[in-house]
């Protein structure tokens, strides 16, 4: 491998704090690596953990979830639900062998553009160090031999095993 691995990270932001933090990082010209691609939700409470699995199964190497700090939710208290979902999700993903560095929750207020940039940079480096996730590969490569071992002589196996 000559080229360094460039991870793809999907970031979920809330409309009110963390997306604005990302905007602020832009207007302040703070730099961070281009490996993250953001999706804007109205609230981090909108984050269905299914989205995270979809991203990972669809080729993302990591998912960053961001929202307003606890107590500062634009919708009053919905980010507490985000924290609870994230906590259970992280435990579940650990059972699926997914490293905790790949799915992270970061609170970022609309004023924390620079901090969000730092967190993104940190996460990109951590995921880069872990290497590609390649979940479709995990599903496809099950280490099983072709099935024609039971009745290798059977004519009907040959046609369908491919």
């Amino acid at each position: 491998m000559s080229e360094p691995f460039e991870p793809v990270i999907i970031g979920f932001t809330c409309n009110w704090c963390s997306y604005r933090a990302a905007d602020l990082a832009g207007t302040s010209r703070v730099k961070y690596p281009p490996n993250i691609r953001l999706i804007r939700l109205m609230c981090s409470g909108r984050l269905d953990p299914t989205f995270v699995l979809k991203a990972l199964a669809g080729g993302a190497d990591g998912v960053l979830i961001t929202g307003c700090h606890p107590g500062e939710c634009h919708y009053l208290e919905q980010n507490y639900k985000t924290l609870r979902r994230f906590t259970l999700l992280r435990r579940t993903l650990a059972q699926f062998g997914i490293e905790p560095e790949r799915v992270r929750l970061v609170w970022a207020s609309a004023a924390e553009g620079a901090r969000l940039a730092v967190e993104i940079g940190k996460m990109v480096e951590e995921v880069r160090a872990l290497g590609p996730l390649n979940w479709q590969g995990v599903i496809a490569d099950d280490g099983d031999p072709p099935i024609a071992i039971y009745h290798p002589q059977s004519e009907w196996v040959q046609g369908v095993a491919a």
């Binding site: 979809k54 107590g71 500062e72 259970l88 280490g143």
Partner: protein
């Protein structure tokens, strides 16, 4: 075609417990109708057929083939491929064939770990020589081969084309009979078959709709395992801190388990349109977990409180994906050949 012209019925078990067959026979006196309408073409559980019988049938000979069980080893795969070729209608029958069910829980770990648990590290096993099944064994009489044990358990539709699916572990007899009636009507009286790919023998909303327990707004401070508390009768189990998969599980069973104080295990699978049953339940459980804060709270303290509450949910992947692992978005754990760490709950109380 046989001379009598009756439609041919087959039922085969792949990696399964046998409950599906028992449930099928539990349709009661209707079994006489089944017998009157169908000729059995292959049904290892109740009649003596050999694989070579099936090999001898022309393609498409079997009119209705019910397959229960997950695809756990090479024999399972080989047999379902064979039966697919010989059958007009192939039905994934029961949770294992539909979405992996209990066998697919081993997708959280490796093939080796599963074999070791079954043959070595088990208090009820007497295996001093540490013998493990080998795909090939040379004996004086020649080479012996047994099916190859797969790393990943698959659902039926991940191996062959499936026409219909009947969920449930096992499917309820009244639902089985209802489906059989539709198929019998189509085969004998020219009725129309349901569109390909649909779920049969189930409701269309969540189990809660069929559940008579009283439901209220939910805020649960912690969860319990079934042995830890005696639920108050008549009251929604989830509200009492018992994990009940009812809200994320398709109806059709009549909410049998919750009625007797055992939370729904989720065997009818996710609702239509809900892609991943485990995540649907996870997000619902997290949503009603009663751990919040107030503005100005210390974020670390808050996280610790949430972690402590989450500790009361033991083995989330195994709980939320108990039946749907093979059909979930992730399907299996990423083990890289290494056995996954068994989750050790911090709190057992």
């Amino acid at each position: 075609m046989n001379a009598n012209g009756k439609p041919k019925l087959a039922m085969y078990w792949a990696s399964a417990c046998g409950g599906c067959e028992i449930s099928t026979l539990n349709i009661g006196e209707h079994i006489l109708t089944v017998d009157a309408v169908f000729d059995l073409a292959f049904f290892p559980c109740i009649a003596d057929f050999k694989v070579k019988d099936v090999l001898g049938y022309p393609d498409g000979y079997i009119d209705l083939c019910l397959i229960n069980g997950a695809i756990r080893n090479s024999e399972n795969e080989e047999m379902v491929r064979l039966l697919r070729r010989k059958s007009k209608l192939l039905v994934a029958f029961g949770s294992c064939a539909y979405e992996g069910c209990i066998p697919a829980l081993s997708n959280l770990t490796t093939r080796d770990a599963t074999l070791r648990a079954a043959y070595l590290d088990n208090p009820s096993i007497d295996n001093p020589a540490g013998t493990l099944p080998q795909p090939h064994t040379a004996v004086p009489e020649g080479d012996l081969e047994i099916p190859f044990f797969y790393h990943t358990v698959k659902s039926l539709d991940q191996v062959v084309d499936v026409d219909y699916t009947i969920p449930g572990c096992p499917p309820e007899p009244h639902q089985i009979w209802a489906v059989l009636q539709v198929v019998v009507a189509a085969l004998t009286q020219g009725g129309s078959l349901p569109p390909k790919g649909v779920l049969l023998g189930a409701g269309s909303v969540a189990v809660c709709e069929e559940c008579a327990l009283a439901k209220h707004e939910k805020a649960v401070a912690r969860f319990y395992r079934p042995y830890q508390i005696r639920p108050e009768p008549g009251l929604c189990l989830l509200e009492q801190g018992l994990i009940c998969m009812g809200p994320a599980t398709l109806s059709g069973c009549g909410a049998l388990c919750p009625q007797v104080g055992m939370g729904c295990r989720g065997c009818y699978g996710p609702l239509p349109g809900a892609e991943d049953q485990g995540m649907r339940m996870l997000t619902a459980i997290a949503s009603i977990l009663d751990v919040s804060g107030r503005p100005g709270d210390n974020e670390l303290d808050l996280e610790r409180k949430v972690e402590a509450a989450a500790d009361t949910i033991v083995d989330p992947a195994g709980t939320f994906y108990r039946f749907s692992m093979a059909h979930s978005l992730l399907r299996r754990a990423r083990t890289d050949g290494v056995e996954a760490a068994v989750p050790q709950p911090a709190v057992w109380s």
